[in-house]
């Protein structure tokens, strides 16, 4: 028998947490990238490895060019991170259940301690947002003092990716529960959204029609990337302009 929550999963509005990104006001300033790195204990990899496509950014800002000088245009900056797909292509291919769908939070989890490093998930991610710990990247003392105790420090051979700051979700839920209430919209947000000087990133519950993120997402003209693959991504982009 099909359970009710499974029926819900197959619809477009399956997600729980979602994001809206306004590319029109994203200035590409990299504040989100830095905030994400600081919040999530992401390694820096140095010049050689970063130039070889091994940077560990969980969020990257893409920009392309249109036209030729002098009519050249920079396309709107596009912050690209894990889209927390409702039907993620990374999940079924992991042989160890290290990347798995959280039924409770409707997120794509990456369970670091279960990962054996086949890197199949990264291959199969159409958004190419997964980063692999190619080495034990050195963070000399006293840099580790800055580590966020709520986030596991990853070592070599493990895949990682944006978690929608799941540690903040849990913290907010824990706090709300201890006060006997639900988590309020805007009570907490992800590190990238919190830092963004232009407030181009909005995070919240997409299954709550009253939340800011839902209202923004339903403004119209929003785009979900590579939706045609049936991945049911939970990040909506507005190109604007």
């Amino acid at each position: 028998m099909i359970k009710p929550e499974e029926i819900k999963m197959s619809t477009d509005e399956s997600g729980k947490w979602g994001m809206v990104i306004d590319q029109d006001i994203c200035t590409g300033c990299q504040a989100c990238v830095a905030a994400c790195a600081m919040e999530n204990n992401i390694s820096f990899v140095g010049e050689a490895d970063s130039g070889y496509g091994r940077s560990m950014h969980w969020i990257r800002i893409e920009r392309f060019w249109e036209g030729e000088y002098p009519e050249v245009k920079m396309t709107p900056n596009q912050p690209m991170m894990c889209q927390q797909c409702g039907s993620a292509t990374c999940e079924p291919v992991c042989p160890a259940f290290a990347t798995i769908h959280s039924q409770a939070e409707q997120l794509n989890l990456q369970v670091y301690n279960r990962c054996i490093g086949t890197r199949y998930c990264a291959n199969n991610c159409p958004y190419q947002v997964r980063s692999f710990n190619w080495r034990d990247y050195e963070r000399p003392e006293p840099l580790p003092n800055q580590f966020n105790p709520d986030v596991t420090v990853r070592r070599r051979g493990v895949m990682e990716k944006c978690t929608f700051c799941i540690q903040r979700i849990h913290k907010a839920q824990d706090k709300a529960k201890s006060e006997g209430r639900e988590v309020l919209d805007g009570e907490f947000t992800t590190a990238c959204a919190q830092a963004c000087p232009a407030s181009a990133i909005t995070f919240g519950r997409v299954d709550d029609p009253e939340s800011l993120v839902s209202q923004l997402a339903h403004r119209g003209h929003g785009v979900k990337h590579l939706e045609e693959l049936g991945t049911l991504p939970n990040v909506t982009y507005f190109k604007g302009g």
Binding site: P95, F97, Q128, F132
Partner: protein, 488 residues
Amino acid sequence: MAGYNNNAVHKKVESAHPKAESHHHDEEHFREKHLMLDPLPRGQMNDMVMESMTTTSWKFWAVFGLLSVIVAVCLFYVWGYMISEGLGVTGKNRPSYWGLFLVNTVFWIGISHAGTFISAILRVFKAEFRRPFTRAAELMTTFGLVQAGFSVFMHLGRVWLFYWLLPYPNQRMLWPNLHSPLSWDLLAITTYLLSSTMYLFLPLIPDLAMARDKSTGWRKTFYKTLALGFRGTEGEWTHLRNAMNIFAFAIIPVMFSVHTIVSWDFAAATRPGWNSTIFGPYFVVGALHSGMGAVVMVLAVVRGTMKNMKYFIRPEHFDAIGKLMLIISMAWAYFFFNDYMVQWYGGDKWTKQLLHFHEAGPMGWMWFAMLIANIAIPWAVLWNPKWRSTPWIVFVVGLIINFGMYLERYIIVPVSLSINRMPFTWRLYYPRVEVLLGIGTLAFFIWLYMAASRLIPLIPVWEVEEGQMAHELKKFGRETVVSVSELE
């Protein structure tokens, strides 16, 4: 025992079979050509095989020693280094998360296919020319799979946790994810390794028993243990035949499934260029293509370097395999074209981009070299019976085909990975220590083969003999024809 060569054989044959003068010419011709029509006494063949195993020149040991060093350094030392440093010492990156290791895996599994193909399919279809070299081919299966296994494990970021891929009860209450093609892969490769090892072992038993009877010292103990007390009674033969029959039929689907499943690692992914329905047969045929090339190379080397092998392995065998290679090359070309066509007409912009990248990108030379090596050269050479009967020519063609098939896998894995739906991340892949590890697996393969050539009879004598017994020359009017009697 004295040395043995073809001329000597023919002299003996002449004296042993005095026949009518008018037929002499035809028969002479047939005998020279066909092992099955050129029988020797059983004891003599046994001695020849035993001699080939025990006659070891210093050159053998020199090569063996060199390979041992290469295996120790390139395989084990470098692997240890890679484990302690992380996969950063390889050339993988985003988006080429997979690199040479999976190329090697696919390559070695491909190599391993020829063994089963020759010994199982040809056995089932009673292709008589197979008889002297089924063992040589089966060894390739087992040893090739060992290398494939090594390559898969090298590929893992945390290889020390490989056992999480195995389904076993544990306190975490977690099982492997059976949705993942990699889980299927593991099961398929394990099944194939086990069954091919069994299938290698079964027909080996009579030969081991033979070797047991003909050897002394540690070899005696060794063969005695392995021969499982085989005495050659009628009951034992019946059981053996039955078992082999079952295995021969059962291993064929396993063989097809293994490479199909390997192809699903790619085909099941949502990537441009990979998500193709034809990858299964395409990979199977590709595997046979490279596998047959490898068999031919092994046979040429065995014939050229081991004692008494010129009797067992003759140009007729190269000719027969050459024909097979030609057909498989055509089949491969068909599948390649089919895959390319359908993908191109599919019209997906990323797939088109990828196909264009294959031929016009920085790795474009590989694409053209692949087509030349896999299609043009085999077709140009193997149609000629004379050329395909010449061992060194077929050896070179086999080498070229393997090179081409290696390129094919290289194009499918890292080159295709360079292109995806996020152009911002496109990047090339340049292998680093993987090359050494690849050389290490190759060296280990040869090392195992050389070691095996000293320990187990490379020629299944009893099968050859069985064939020789079944064959005879008959004369119908003026024509001399070969007749084969049913054995079972």
